[in-house]
């Protein structure tokens, strides 16, 4: 326990870095990913292709490889970012690809008739997205976006490999000193668990706020009802 008690400030700083990496990476990924999704459903073929190529590259490259490329590959072509921003950039690039696909599949859940109706009352491409498609698509995107958030939380641990002193890095460092691996990693695990559960709870609350019948997972309840009905 002394390993923890004696190093509260260091652990807190590690948690701070983990939170900062996650939030920055995720928020930027939401912005970039949404823009990419708009490109992927746009009527302009080159934009669609560019977004598709982006998604297929960054969805399929392991985050650790990506981080090491950014941290130690980019300086060779003259771009040397601080480690922390290398971490943010890696998380953003990777998570944005997943965000893009979630937003796109959310858009695809909106019946095409709605979009056609929006066009017929004179809304343009962006108007259709903003007033008709995205508000409806948002509801079905929440849970998948929570999954991306959890992926970003967990991915932030890999930034320890590029010298960002987030909680995993702190854990490893303290373990060298105190030889208390199991205890230290339980602490780090608890931090990630707390952040992931927090994200999931927030997502659930959002879902309840925007769902038409006022509770999350209305569909799940329906399936339960069907199951109960089958038994009756």
């Amino acid at each position: 326990m002394e390993a923890i008690v004696e190093n509260i400030p260091l652990l807190l700083r590690g948690i701070g870095y983990t939170v900062a990496l996650t939030l920055l990476g995720y928020v930027l990924a939401l912005i970039v990913g949404t823009a990419l999704a708009v490109c992927r459903v746009s009527p302009i073929p080159p934009l669609r292709w560019a977004a598709t190529v982006y998604v297929e590259i960054f969805r399929n490259i392991p985050l650790l490889s990506l981080l090491i490329l950014i941290a130690f590959g980019l300086p060779d072509v003259g771009l040397r970012l601080p480690y922390f921003w290398c971490g943010v950039l890696g998380l953003t690039l990777s998570s944005a690809a997943f965000v893009c696909e979630n937003v796109r599949s959310g858009i695809n859940t909106v019946p095409v008739g709605h979009a056609e109706a929006a066009r017929s009352i004179g809304l343009g491409f962006f108007g259709t997205l903003r007033f008709v498609v995205l508000p409806q698509a948002f509801r079905s995107m929440i849970q998948p976006l929570v999954n991306v958030f959890i992926g970003t939380v967990i991915g932030s641990a890999l930034c320890s490999a590029i010298a960002v002193s987030e909680i995993t890095w702190v854990t490893q460092t303290l373990n060298i000193q105190y030889a208390q691996a199991v205890l230290m990693f339980l602490v780090a695990g608890a931090v990630y668990l707390g952040m992931s559960l927090g994200g999931a709870a927030l997502g659930g609350a959002l879902e309840r706020a925007v769902s038409p019948d006022g509770h999350a997972g209305g569909r799940d309840r329906k399936t339960l009802d069907v199951a109960a009905g089958a038994q009756a």
Binding site: R40, V41, P43, R48, T52, V53, E56, I57, R59, N60, I61, S65, I68, L69, A71, F72, G73, P75, D76, R80, Y83, I107, N108, V112, A115, S160, A161, I162, A163, W169, Q172, T173, N175, I176, Q177, Y178, A179, A181, V182, F185
Partner: protein, 325 residues
């Protein structure tokens, strides 16, 4: 809204093609074993008989039957027919897997094979099961009996001694400083590192050495492996790389852009990690270490491995059982 047609086959091909240059680039800058020192027995001849390394191993002692049976730890290994060693096979100088199907080579690998031969007799060299341990798992794997021993540039520290036993020390390493070659005249010791950005390996005692000997460094970065640390140093992310001298000398040998400066400024004794539950293991392994030191095998092994990256004669071996802490 454009309807999207899903053709997974074509997509997979596109993705693979897109990822290819990245993969190739990554392979090009990942750990390249060719950059390490040639241990005179590594990829060239598998470390077999006839190489300095192979001869050193072959000259090792074999314990008498009653010596083995007097130790429950050694008897169990003999009954099992193999020695299970925890460690790494990715260290250029101490323990490197063979690319040609031979036994691993290096100073730690040699100690491991000598110990296996000592307990299991003729042919014991090949009866080693190498299990990968990391700095996170070493103590745990010794404590729960996953491995018989850990031989992995394992520094003896008071904290570690609380949870496991250490036989040895079997090698006295030292923490040294590596800088970019253009800086070699301005930095000569830890006192010159104040205000500089330092880098060391995450799983090393370099972290503690910096804490104890460097006043107010600008920044201490830790990276998971030697290649990343060298890249950070060469790319100017850090000004000095603090680590075990043996590894640093290997880097200088492979890359003229980096140079080791000054003499080691911290003693770093390596021990063999053993479980505290096997009371007699400690004495048995220390006896073995004393035997390879007395017979000259230790010096022959040093010359064939570490001697390849450090100039000069083999140092005086440490005294097993004489723990520094």
């Amino acid at each position: 809204m454009t309807p999207t047609t899903s053709r997974p086959g074509r997509r997979a091909v596109v993705a693979a093609a897109a990822a290819l240059p990245f993969g190739a680039a990554l392979a090009a800058c990942s750990s390249d074993t060719g950059a390490g020192p040639d241990l005179g027995g590594g990829a060239s001849d598998g470390g077999g008989e006839g190489s300095p390394y192979g001869d050193a191993i072959a000259s090792g002692p074999i314990a008498a039957d009653d010596v083995v049976s007097a130790s429950t730890w050694a008897s169990a290994i003999k009954d099992n027919g193999k020695l299970v060693r925890g460690g790494t096979l990715a260290n250029q100088v101490f323990s490197l897997a063979s690319t040609t199907g031979g036994e691993p080579t290096g100073f730690d690998a040699g100690i491991t094979q000598l110990l296996a031969q000592y307990i299991l007799g003729e042919g014991g060299v090949e009866k080693v099961e190498y299990i990968d341990t990391t700095v996170e798992t070493r103590e745990t794997m010794v404590e729960n009996g996953t491995v018989d021993c850990v031989i992995a540039t394992y520094s003896i520290t008071p904290e570690r001694l609380e949870v496991i036993n250490f036989a040895g020390p079997y090698y006295l390493s030292g923490t040294a400083i590596q800088v970019r070659t253009e800086d070699k005249d301005t930095i000569s010791g830890p006192e010159d590192l104040t205000g500089l950005k330092l880098v060391t390996q995450a799983n090393s005692t370099g972290i503690q050495a910096i804490e104890d000997y460097v006043t107010d460094p600008a920044d201490v970065q830790t990276l998971p492996d030697n290649e990343s640390c060298v890249a950070a140093l060469k790319q100017g992310r850090s000004d000095a790389y603090v680590l075990d001298q043996g590894v640093l000398l290997g880097n200088s040998k492979a890359d003229p852009d980096v140079t080791v400066v000054g003499e080691p400024f911290v003693d770093d004794p390596y021990g063999i990690g053993l479980s505290q539950e096997n009371e007699d293991a400690l004495e048995f392994v220390n006896t073995f270490l004393q035997e390879i030191i007395d017979s000259g095998t230790w010096k022959a092994l040093w010359t064939a491995t570490i001697g390849d990256v450090i100039d000069g004669e083999a140092p005086e071996p440490p005294t097993p059982g004489d723990l520094p802490v």
